[in-house]
């Protein structure tokens, strides 16, 4: 089917980006394993949809498409959560940097003390 070709091409493209990212050391080995496994699993599901039906039957969900949907939603929520934490961590690092620059800037203290 046409949709299978489109999805397969997209997932292969995504997989190639993951390989490029790990080659340029932009993602960790753990990140590489996670994203590679995710895209390979999705690729297998697109090429062989019956596989998702087997998993659906095993989990008692009914349709293979529903397994994909539920898993995707759970995964998206988890990724948003991880992203929020990473964003907070980045903000904290920026704050530490700005704080250090602020407190190390002797000119600010000297200037105000000279008036005191």
């Amino acid at each position: 089917m046409l949709i299978q070709i489109f999805f397969s091409l997209f997932l292969l493209f995504a997989l190639s980006r993951v390989i490029l990212q790990v080659k340029s050391a932009k993602i960790s080995p753990g990140g590489f394993l996670f994203w590679s496994a995710l895209f390979i699993f999705a690729l297998v599901g697109v090429i062989e949809p019956k596989l998702t039906s087997y998993i659906a039957n095993f989990l008692g969900i009914g349709r293979g498409a529903d397994v994909v949907l539920y898993t995707s939603i759970a995964l998206l929520f988890y990724l948003i959560f991880r992203l929020s934490i990473a964003l907070e961590e980045t903000r904290r690092e920026i704050t530490k940097l700005v704080r250090k620059i602020t407190l190390d800037d002797k000119s600010q203290v000297k200037s105000s003390r000279s008036r005191g």
């Binding site: 959560f81 903000r91 920026i94 700005v98 704080r99 407190l103 203290v109 105000s112």
Partner: protein, 227 residues
């Protein structure tokens, strides 16, 4: 004699900061030297310039980071400089000098790690919306961190040197007010509440925490609690 630092977090307060700084107490019975430090959180008006004209120390963040970040900077400065006590005072003119004195006296006599100026205990002037926001914030703080206070969002607070050395402030913005109580619970610090009467003007009401900010604060506190 113990040294006291009055810490003033300020963001775009040019209209009133001069008046606030002029009104701060410079002598308190039982206290030694009293210094004032203003941390300007990247204001776009001339808050920094006005504060510099007064007899106070002034620092400026090059970026607007939020209340939590400002308090963190002020606390680090206080610990590094060796102050015995720190009292945080809002720069919007909401706090009365007499209440600052009462917080200082409480720090000297109560032997608690932290003193909270509570607007709820005096029950004067506080607008209904503020009471509601405060009650919801107190309840949320209690549910998340198991510490009950009558004013989790008060900006007038006193800290001992020992407490400041232990506190680990991670919040960037307004959620810091609840985080202080999280730290009180985590570190088993003691605190007392002192009634204060806030001055509500049209100006100070525009400066407070809007209720629309509640979901953001809630999310940040959840991350702190469970992440």
């Amino acid at each position: 004699m113990p040294r006291l630092l009055l810490l003033i977090p300020a963001f775009n307060e040019a209209a009133i900061i001069g008046e606030v700084l002029d009104g701060l107490p410079r002598q308190i019975h039982g206290m030694g030297k009293i210094d004032v430090v203003v941390i300007d959180d990247g204001s776009q008006d001339n808050t920094f310039e006005i504060a510099k004209r007064k007899k106070v120390k002034v620092f400026r963040h090059s970026l607007n980071l939020g209340l939590g970040a400002v308090l963190g900077t002020g606390f680090e400065y206080a610990v590094n400089t060796g102050y015995d006590f720190v009292i945080t005072v809002d720069a919007d003119g909401q706090h009365q000098p007499d209440d600052v004195v009462n917080i200082a006296k409480s720090l000297l006599t109560e032997k608690s790690d932290i003193v909270i100026g509570s607007r709820s205990l005096s029950k004067k002037n506080m607008p209904l919306v503020r009471r509601l926001v405060n009650f919801l914030s107190n309840t949320l703080t209690f549910l998340l961190f198991n510490v009950w206070t009558t004013d989790s969002q008060s900006g007038l607070r006193g800290f001992t040197k020992a407490a400041l050395k232990k506190l680990k402030i991670r919040s960037q913005r307004m959620e810091v007010s609840s985080e202080i109580f999280k730290e009180i619970g985590r570190l088993h610090l003691t605190f007392v509440e002192v009634p204060i009467t806030a001055i509500y003007t049209d100006y100070s009401l525009t400066k407070g925490q809007p209720i629309s900010n509640a979901p953001n604060v809630f999310w940040k506190l959840l991350l702190q609690r469970f992440a």
